[in-house]
Amino acid sequence: MTAADGAGPEGLLAAHGVAVYFPVGSQVMARVQGEERRLRAVDGVDLDIRPGEALALVGESGSGKSTLALALCGLRPVDAGDITLNGKVVGARRSPADRRRVQMVFQDPYSSLNPRLTVGGVLRELLRVHHVVPRGQVSAESKRLLSLVGLPEEAVGAYPRQFSGGQRQRIAIARALALRPEVLIADEPVSALDVSVQATILNLLASLRAELGLSLLLISHNLAVVRHLCDRVAVMYLGRIVEVAPTEELFSEPQHPYTRALLAAIPRLAAGALDAEAPAITGDPPSPLRIPSGCRFRTRCPIAQPRCEEEDPELTSAAQAPEHLAACHFAFEPVPPAGTGLARAGDQA
C-alpha cells in the first residue's frame, strides 16, 4: 500500500483521546478507600502522523512521550481512546500485517539488540517470520538492508558487541526497516551517541525518509535536532499534547507558555554567557500521580490566572492558523503580563 491511499484526512497513524495508565500500589486498597492509585502517563492525546511527514514529539522526562510511542507501536495496550492505522482502529494485538506498518528504534543501542544473535541472525529471523521476501532471497535482503544503513556486508556475521554505538544504532534502524514499515518511530535515537556520530545517524534518518517515503515520529528532547529534521512538532506536558504546529511556526510564534519556556531554556552556541535573569521556568514538573486541576501547566506558568485552576484548556487552533493548535486559554491572544501569574517558584520539589 502506498502512503497516499487509504490514509484519511486524519493521517496514517493517529491517536484519538488515547490514555495509558499505570497502576501504583495496592489496587484493592485504592478501591476500598475510593482513591485513584494510578499514574496517568498519557492522559487524553490526539495526534496524527501524516503520510511522509516527520513529526517530532518533545517534552520533559515523565511527560509520557515514550509511553505514547509504545502505545502507537502496539507495544502497550491503551486504557482509553483509539489508535487508528490507515483509518482502521488497531489495538495492541495487531495482525502481523499491521504490526509491520509501524516499527520502532529505541534509545539505547546497547540494550535493544540481542547479544546472542548475529546481525544477520536478527535480520533473517524477521524476514522469515514476516515472509517479507521469498526464502531464497533472505540472505541477499539482509545484505541490502545493511548497505541501506551504511554498514558493510560483512557485518552480517558479526555480533552487536563488535560494533560501536553509532553502528549499533544503524543495525537497529536496519532491523526496523526490514519489515518495510510505513511509519518509523524513533525514541531518542541519538541521545546515547557522541556528537560526531549523532550527525551520521540524523543524516541517515533524513535520507531514508526521502528515499523510502517513510513517515517518521521522532521523540527527542533536543530541539536543535528537531528543528533540523522535522516538519511538525508536538509538545507534550504531563501526558497531554499542549501545542502542535509546523516546526518553524512553533519556534517563531510559540503560543503555549510551556513551549515558550522550553525554547528559552535551549543552550545556544551563539548566545553567549548566561545573564542573571531568572531561569526560563522554575520548579520541576508535578508528579503524574497528582496532576493539577484545570490547566496542568498552571503550577509553573508565569501567566496563570484564576480561570486556569478551574478550566482545562482544549487543544484548539485560531482561525488564521488552522495548522497551529495550542491548549492554553490565552493562546493566539496578546500575552498577559508575566508575574501576574499564580505560580510560585519551586512549588513542586
Binding site: A199, H228, L269, G272, A280, D284
Partner: protein
C-alpha cells in the same frame, strides 16, 4: 591561560581575573590493560584562574573525565599518573601523601558528578550529607554544621529546607538532587569545583536552572569551575574559556566565543559542524569521518590526521604540541591558517 607544552607558561596570555588556582603541567596518565598500555591522558597542560570557568570538551574516550579524576586523585585502580604535575595553589598533588590529599580534597576542591543518584548516599538524610563536609573538614559542631547545611540548601534553591533536610535522596527529583550535590560541593567553601557532565542527565528546562545556579554561585563566591562536557552550547553559556581534547591531548584552547565560533583546529570545527545548531538549520550535518584514535597505538604525528581534510605530509610525522598564538589562543594544528579560512567560509555561508 593555557600554556603551550610543558613549562611554557605565557604571562599575560589569558584573561585571568586573579591568581592561578589550578595548574596542570604535562600530565600523563597511563592505564595498564591486557591489550597494552592505554595513554589515557597524554601531556595535558592548562591553568585555571581564580573565579574562572574553564570548559573541557571532547568525545567519550578523549580523556576529559580521566583528567578530572587525576586532579581529584580518584583514578581507577589500574590507572596511574606517570609524569607531570598537578598544582593546586602551587602545591603539587601528584607527590603528596594520601592523608594530605584527603584534607585538600574536601576543603579546597570538590566535585559534581553526572549522576547525582549514584553519587549520593541513599541511606543518609540529605541534610546530614551536606553537613558532613563542614563537620569532618572544618571541625564544625553538629548543630553548627546543620545550620550551615540549611543555609546552603537555601542558597542552591531547595524549597522548604527545614523539611527537606530530613529527606532521603530518592525523595528528590533529578534537578533537586543535583542541587544537593552542588550544596555538598560548596559546603567547605572550595576554591575550585570540578564538574563532570553535571547537566547531561537533566531535562533542558532543569539544565537551564542548574546552569544559571552555577553561574550565579561562581559570580558570588569567586569559586573556579572546570566543566567537563560534550555539549558545546552548554560550554558557551557557562564558561569563559574552553579547552578541546582529542585522543588524550589538548588540541585547542582559548576564549569560548573565539574557539566555538571561529575554530582554529579541524577537530573543533568538525565538532561544531556535526552538532545540530538551533539557530542554524542546514541541508545536512557534516559528520567527522572515521573513528577516534586508539589510545594504545595512537597514530604518529597529529592524532587527528587520519580524519582531517587539511592533513599534509608533515602532519603524519611531526609531533603537534599546543602552540600559543596571539589573543590568548592556542592550537595544535600545524596548518591552522587553513582551518581559519574554512571557518571563515562556514561563517559566511551562515550569514
Amino acid at each position: 591561560m593555557i600554556a603551550a607544552g610543558a613549562g611554557g607558561a605565557a604571562p599575560g596570555a589569558g584573561m585571568a581575573q586573579g591568581g592561578t588556582v589550578l595548574e596542570l603541567r604535562d600530565l600523563h596518565v597511563r592505564i595498564v590493560s591486557r591489550q597494552g598500555t592505554v595513554r589515557a591522558v597524554d601531556g595535558v597542560s592548562f591553568d585555571v584562574a581564580a573565579g574562572e570557568a574553564l570548559g573541557l570538551v571532547g568525545e567519550s574516550g578523549s580523556g576529559k573525565s580521566m583528567t578530572l579524576r587525576a586532579v581529584l586523585g580518584v583514578l581507577p585502580p589500574e590507572a596511574r599518573v606517570t609524569s607531570g604535575e598537578i598544582l593546586l595553589d602551587g602545591v603539587n598533588l601528584v607527590t603528596r601523601p594520601q592523608s594530605e590529599l584527603n584534607r585538600i580534597r574536601g576543603r579546597k576542591m570538590s566535585m559534581i558528578f553526572q549522576e547525582p543518584m549514584s553519587a549520593l548516599n541513599p541511606v543518609m538524610r540529605v541534610g546530614w550529607q551536606i553537613a558532613e563536609g563542614p563537620q569532618v573538614q572544618l571541625g564544625f559542631s553538629r548543630a553548627r554544621a546543620a545550620e550551615r547545611a540549611l543555609e546552603l540548601m537555601r542558597r542552591v534553591g531547595i524549597p522548604d529546607p527545614e523539611r527537606r533536610f530530613r529527606a532521603y535522596p530518592h525523595e528528590f527529583s533529578g534537578g533537586m538532587r543535583q542541587r544537593v550535590m552542588i550544596a555538598i560541593a560548596l559546603s567547605c567553601d572550595p576554591e575550585i569545583i570540578l564538574c563532570d557532565e553535571p547537566t547531561t542527565a537533566l531535562d533542558v528546562t532543569i539544565q537551564d536552572q542548574i546552569l544559571r545556579l552555577l553561574a550565579r554561585l561562581c559570580r558570588e563566591s569567586g569559586v573556579s569551575l572546570v566543566f567537563v562536557t560534550h555539549d558545546l552550547p552548554v560550554v558557551a553559556q557557562i564558561c569563559q574559556r574552553v579547552a578541546v581534547m582529542y585522543g588524550a591531548q589538548l588540541v585547542e584552547s582559548g576564549a569560548v566565543a573565539d574557539v566555538l565560533l571561529n575554530p582554529w583546529h579541524p577537530y573543533t570545527r568538525g565538532l561544531v559542524r556535526s552538532a545540530p545548531d538551533f539557530d542554524y538549520v542546514r541541508e545536512s550535518l557534516v559528520p567527522i569521518p572515521g573513528a577516534p584514535p586508539s589510545l594504545i597505538n595512537p597514530p604518529p604525528g597529529c592524532r587527528f590526521h587520519p580524519r582531517c581534510e587539511f592533513a599534509e605530509e608533515d602532519c603524519r610525522v611531526s609531533e603537534t604540541p599546543l602552540r600559543l598564538l596571539p589573543g590568548g589562543r592556542a592550537t595544535a594544528c600545524l596548518h591552522y591558517e587553513r582551518c581559519m579560512d574554512a571557518a571563515a567560509a562556514d561563517r559566511a555561508a551562515r550569514a
